[in-house]
């Protein structure tokens, strides 16, 4: 077991995650849109930036008091303000995860993992995609598995999230040789090969921010 006390995930931590994520997406918008240009409709960066800025404003105006409520609020804003497929997909992920967390004021790593898993399953169901289809799931499924392994080896929440973020990065990179089977990129067939999936990339970004936020809470 890690010697440092495990910092519980509370609403304040997830609000910091949201605030940082909105900033990171603002800086990375051009990069995400660039990834989306050869295989998508070149709007992923601007859509994600708009969605997370709207979510940050909504949460600042009416700060939710539980981690579950933060996820639900962010999910709702993403569905209404992203404008692309990532809106309902990330929106469903966070709303499902938030509902799974319930009214708890703080949650541990296992509860967070279970909630994220429920959210990711919601995404798979909504989009009808599977692993290997060159979608955000190719970052999210490995992330959940890595979180599982870390927790079962006695890792704390921050360690489990760091493992998840690392696996998501690897998963996003591993989409490069894949042929897209969902979304607009799937119309391109073999021409979708050789490009990193924008959705998997933004999923990895969001998990990296979450891991960093959790690590900072423990020091």
């Amino acid at each position: 077991m890690n010697a440092t006390p495990d910092a519980p995930v509370d609403a304040a931590l997830l609000r910091r995650w949201l605030d940082t994520a909105a900033g990171v997406l603002d800086r990375e918008a051009a990069h995400l849109t660039e990834l989306d240009s050869p295989i998508g409709d070149a709007d992923h960066g601007t859509n994600m930036r708009r969605g997370f800025q709207a979510a940050r404003s909504a949460v600042e105006q009416q700060p939710p008091q539980t981690p579950g409520a933060v996820f639900v609020a962010v999910g709702r804003q993403l569905i209404s303000s992203v404008g692309g497929a990532s809106g309902p997909l990330y929106g469903t992920l966070l709303r499902r995860a938030g509902k799974q967390l319930g009214d708890a004021e703080t949650v541990d790593g296992a509860a967070l993992r279970d909630a994220l898993r429920a959210g990711v399953e919601g995404v798979a169901q909504l989009g009808g995609a599977s692993a290997g289809d060159k979608t955000m799931l190719d970052a999210l499924f490995p992330a959940l598995d890595a979180m599982d392994s870390s927790l079962s080896e006695g890792g704390d929440t921050a360690a489990a999230l760091a493992a998840a973020a690392h696996a998501a990065d690897e998963g996003a990179k591993a989409t490069i040789p894949l042929r897209a089977r969902k979304g607009r990129a799937s119309y391109l067939g073999d021409r979708s090969i050789g490009h990193q999936d924008p959705g998997a990339t933004s999923a990895a970004l969001l998990l990296n921010v979450l891991a960093d936020t959790a690590r900072e809470a423990t020091v």
């Binding site: 409709d41 569905i79 404008g83 692309g84 309902p88 919601g122 989009g127």
Partner: protein
């Protein structure tokens, strides 16, 4: 579109509403106009376009979809047709969260042909099942 009016002494039949969700506001409006004009002599079916994204550009707006569904809801159900990707996913997410009027259904149909079939069928006073089936049948109209 206007609500069906009661021209006789009979209780007006409640008509199924139709919402057309497209990435393009112009496409949604044009398909709504086309379907409305082709519905012929039947009653005026409530049809509402929900096109374009939250910023007014290409995309999908959940607020426009929800507003359109409320506008065409006469209590007989609402058939929603969507074009692609985020339009389909946004409708599904809204349905999963019960944010559309009761009796709202995403109909699996080609956008333009399905819209015409849905509006014509609804104008005859058909129920939501029949409207959805007619729209879905539009997939089988081969052109060669």
């Amino acid at each position: 579109m206007t609500a069906p009016t009661d021209s006789g002494t009979q209780e007006p039949r409640r008509l199924v509403g139709v919402v057309l969700v497209s990435h393009s506001a112009a496409a949604a409006q044009a398909v709504a106009d086309l379907a409305g004009s082709l519905s012929g002599g039947g009653a005026d079916v409530p049809v509402a376009p929900a096109g374009g994204g939250p910023d007014g550009g290409l995309g999908t707006s959940s607020e426009l979809i929800a507003a359109a569904a409320r506008r065409v809801d006469r209590g007989a159900g609402v058939a929603v047709l969507a074009d692609l990707g985020s339009a389909v996913l946004t409708v599904k997410a809204l349905l999963a969260d019960e944010e559309l009027p009761e009796g709202t259904r995403l109909v699996d149909a080609p956008f333009l042909e399905g819209a015409v079939a849905a509006v014509v069928t609804a104008s005859a006073g058909a129920d939501l099942d029949a409207v959805a089936a007619a729209a879905g049948d539009a997939y089988t109209y081969r052109k060669t």
